[in-house]
């Protein structure tokens, strides 16, 4: 199968949906002429014109709110917020409008809208352009939260997000945009709430999101040399969360490590750990471990930033400790 990058896979999903359905429109900063800060929307302005690929002023709350209105009145907007960091200025639009309308109109209105954001440190972009607080959106009822880790998942989840009648927060990862992988040419969807076991193993379950999936897969090769067999479960959507696949894996391995690039406290990993503690405690042979970003802002200094990003250097000692609980 041909290979695309993660950015190209999302671009293809957008193009195919726009071709298929003229209600699909794009809004965002520098998404038209420039093609988006990570080139996810490259070429779409030429193909679909300025009425459907609309460059926005630097006013995130404004165009997020406009998109909620457009969605309520029949359009299917896909909004790009340049960095997750900027969603803070549109939280009222997201939490009080986008997530609530369907509920508050007693189901008679719907908001079929996708809000694209990206997380991840590692580009020297400092504390206001590198954050990973996607767990915030898991906390809000009414929002779906997609978290693709591969080009294949990115395309399938994006098409599902656009076709879905509910608001979706589509969380991309900066460091993954250039990662390549096989992507089918045709339109396909990945249902929400279906995790994928990215690697089968017997000793430790690693529930990993986004770039932590890639890092865990790399770790698995090193771990195999030491005789540790990792199973890597990628939830793919954080809301809804595929508890069954996670619990089945933990039942098999008896050990759980959750790897997510968000902060450790009250994060994605905290939620998944708590869920397993509630529903699968008697399968646990060892304490649950979370490998996440520290509870500090992302440092600007490149060496500090590298130390900050959770990766193999943090995962390897963690799994060795877990294996002491034989």
């Amino acid at each position: 199968m041909r290979e695309l990058t993660y950015a190209q896979a999302i671009n293809e999903a957008l193009r195919q949906c726009m071709k298929e359905d003229e209600r699909v429109i794009l809004l965002g900063e520098d998404i038209g002429v420039y093609g988006g800060i990570f080139q996810v929307t490259a070429g779409l302005l030429n193909e679909f014109g300025p009425e459907r690929v609309i460059d926005m002023p630097i006013a995130e709350a404004g165009f997020t709110g406009a998109s909620v209105g457009a969605a309520l009145t029949g359009m299917r907007p896909v909004v790009e917020i340049m960095f997750i960091d900027f969603t803070t200025v549109c939280m009222d639009m997201i939490i009080n409008q986008m997530a609530k309308m369907h509920y508050m109109f007693g189901g008679r209105g719907k908001v079929p809208m996708v809000l694209r954001i990206n997380i991840g440190a590692g580009r020297g972009a400092a504390a206001q352009h590198s954050q990973s607080f996607h767990a915030l959106f898991m906390h809000i009822p009414g929002l779906y939260v997609a978290a693709p880790s591969t080009p294949y998942d990115a395309k399938g989840l994006m098409i599902e997000a656009i076709k879905n009648d509910n608001p979706v927060i589509f969380v991309e990862h900066k460091k993954l945009y250039v990662e390549k992988g096989p992507v089918p040419e045709e339109i396909y969807t990945i249902p929400f709430g279906e995790a994928e076991v990215k690697r089968k193993g017997s000793d430790i379950t690693i529930v990993a999101t986004h770039a932590m999936v890639i890092r865990s897969l790399r770790l698995a090769e090193e771990a195999a040399k030491e005789g540790i067999d990792l199973e890597i479960v990628d939830p793919r959507t954080l809301t809804p969360l595929d508890k069954v696949t996670i619990l089945e894996s933990v039942k098999k391995t008896g050990r759980l490590l959750v790897a997510d690039e968000g902060h450790k406290t009250c994060g994605v990993a905290a939620e998944i750990s708590a869920m397993v503690a509630e529903e699968g405690i008697f399968d646990l042979k060892a304490p649950v471990v979370r490998v996440c970003s520290p509870d500090t802002p992302v440092p600007f200094s490149p060496p500090l930033e590298q130390a900050y990003i959770p990766d193999v250097k943090d995962l390897l000692p963690a799994i060795k400790r877990m294996m002491e609980y034989a």
């Binding site: 008896g254 405690i281 008697f282 399968d283 646990l284 042979k285 060892a286 304490p287 400790r321 002491e324 609980y325 034989a326």
Partner: protein, 452 residues
């Protein structure tokens, strides 16, 4: 480290016990699990095991003294260890003081009923609990393994899966589930431990279990002297107390059983399909008697000093015969609960009565008793009241009789019911009314059970 020995909690309603006998003297070496004293309460006499191995350094409460449960009664020290000064000062002639109870209750963790305080736990982990990962705890629980016997090899000495698995392997498994003394006795008497039902914590085989097997193997024979065990002693005391303090009067009546038998047969398939439970005549009987008591509350009364207490709950005691005696667990609130719940409670109580796992509360809560010899070829019989209850119903065999109905000879199934009552509380006419009404109810099951 010195280990305190306390009177264990013996049930929810038991507050105190009398030390009948010390099996060890001060200065004697004792082994963990060895019986060191016998304590008697209102309903049971229990052997108490030593919580630790060492020297019985100090007996604080001598035999014959009644003390509250959890009272400190002795101290065990390790060989060579001095008796700590705080214990040395305690008098051996302590009367049953309340102050003692309070100070000890504060220090001692509450043990489970029928269980000696697990002092070794405190030794193993100063935090108070054994450290064990959840999956290992679950495995141990499923397999009935006592975690106190497992040593942990995980980080910081935590018990991990491999420790439990190792402990469950054939050889060590048996060792873990048999008390030292039981093992020794079984070896001496040449008895196989396999197949012996343990009554200790999590099914651990105790010395009493082995003794029971030995006893069963040696049935009574002419000229043999049988020492009274604790159950027999309690039965003897309570039966004579009842027979000689409560003046008994007896009443009998024949109940036409065909309506009840047919009623059961008719509803049995539907009942089984709906609840997955098999309804017996006994269950219907329990319910009918409980309902009848609502009409005659005096039969739910007990005699205390100058007053008659009519008890607020109707808890129906059921006499269960055991190889070495008889025990009467009671179905709670038999008047209020449905038939399905009666069946569940009855099956559970009888099964646990046979395996010796009833709680004191289940034995003590009864307010009326049914004793059935329906399976025997006994026409009718009298019973001694189960004190402090005021009534007991006996059930004889169900027999065929011929009867004249409108001039024609018909076949009938008939059971004789007997009622013994405490004549101090209940007059003859009340007892007669009670039995007659019960007969009426049993012969009209559709009306009796209409609301269930």
């Amino acid at each position: 480290m010195a280990t305190e020995v306390v009177v264990p909690m013996l049930g929810i309603t038991v507050e105190k016990g009398t030390i009948l006998e010390w099996m060890k003297k001060e200065g004697d070496p004792v082994e963990k699990g060895e019986i060191i004293f016998i304590v008697e309460t209102e309903k049971v006499t229990t052997e108490v095991e030593s919580p630790a191995s060492g020297i019985l350094a100090k007996v604080i409460v001598p035999a014959g003294v009644e003390v509250p449960v959890l009272t400190l009664v002795a101290v065990i020290t390790e060989p060579g260890e001095e008796l700590p000064a705080k214990y040395a000062a305690l008098s051996t002639q302590v009367p049953p003081v309340e102050a003692e109870k309070v100070s000890q209750a504060e220090q001692v963790p509450t043990p489970m009923p029928h269980q000696v305080r697990p002092a070794e736990v405190a030794e193993a982990a100063p935090g108070g609990a054994i450290k064990v990962v959840p999956a290992a705890r679950k495995l141990a629980q499923d397999k009935g393994l006592d975690l106190e016997t497992v040593s942990g090899t995980g980080p910081g000495g935590i018990i991990v899966i491999r420790d439990v698995e190792a402990a469950l392997k054939p050889g060590p498994e048996l060792a873990a589930k048999v008390s030292t003394l039981a093992g020794r006795l079984a070896k001496k008497e040449g008895i196989l431990l396999q197949g012996i039902e343990g009554t200790g914590v999590r099914g651990r085989i105790m010395r009493a279990d082995v003794e029971r097997v030995i006893e069963e193997a040696t049935a009574p024979s002419l000229g043999k002297v049988i020492p009274m065990d604790s159950i027999r002693r309690v039965i003897a005391r309570r039966m004579s107390e009842s027979a000689f303090t409560a003046p008994h009067i007896y009443f009998f009546t024949d109940v036409w059983m065909d309506p009840l038998l047919n009623f059961r047969r008719d509803i049995l398939p539907n009942f089984e399909e709906k609840f997955g439970l098999r309804l017996s005549i006994n269950d219907l009987l329990i319910k009918a008697v409980a309902l009848n008591i609502l009409d005659f509350p005096l039969l739910n009364a007990t005699f205390k000093g100058q007053e008659i207490y009519i008890l607020p709950e109707v808890n129906m005691g059921l006499a269960v015969a055991l190889p070495d005696g008889l025990i009467v667990p009671a179905i709670a609130r038999a008047d209020k609960i449905g038939l399905a719940e009666i069946i569940r409670q009855r099956a559970d109580l009888v099964q646990r009565a046979r395996s010796g796992k009833l709680s004191m509360d289940e034995i003590e809560r009864g307010t009326f008793t049914i004793s059935s010899l329906n399976q025997y070829d006994i026409t009718y019989f009298t019973a001694i009241l189960n004190p402090p209850q005021s009534g007991i119903l006996t059930v004889g065999k169900t027999r065929d009789e011929l009867t004249l109905v409108d001039g024609a000879v018909k076949e009938k199934r008939v059971t004789s019911f007997g009622l013994s009552v405490d004549h101090r509380i209940i007059d003859g006419t009340v007892a007669a009314d009670f039995l007659q009404n019960l007969k009426w109810k049993l012969e009209r099951p559709a009306l009796t059970f209409l609301n269930l």
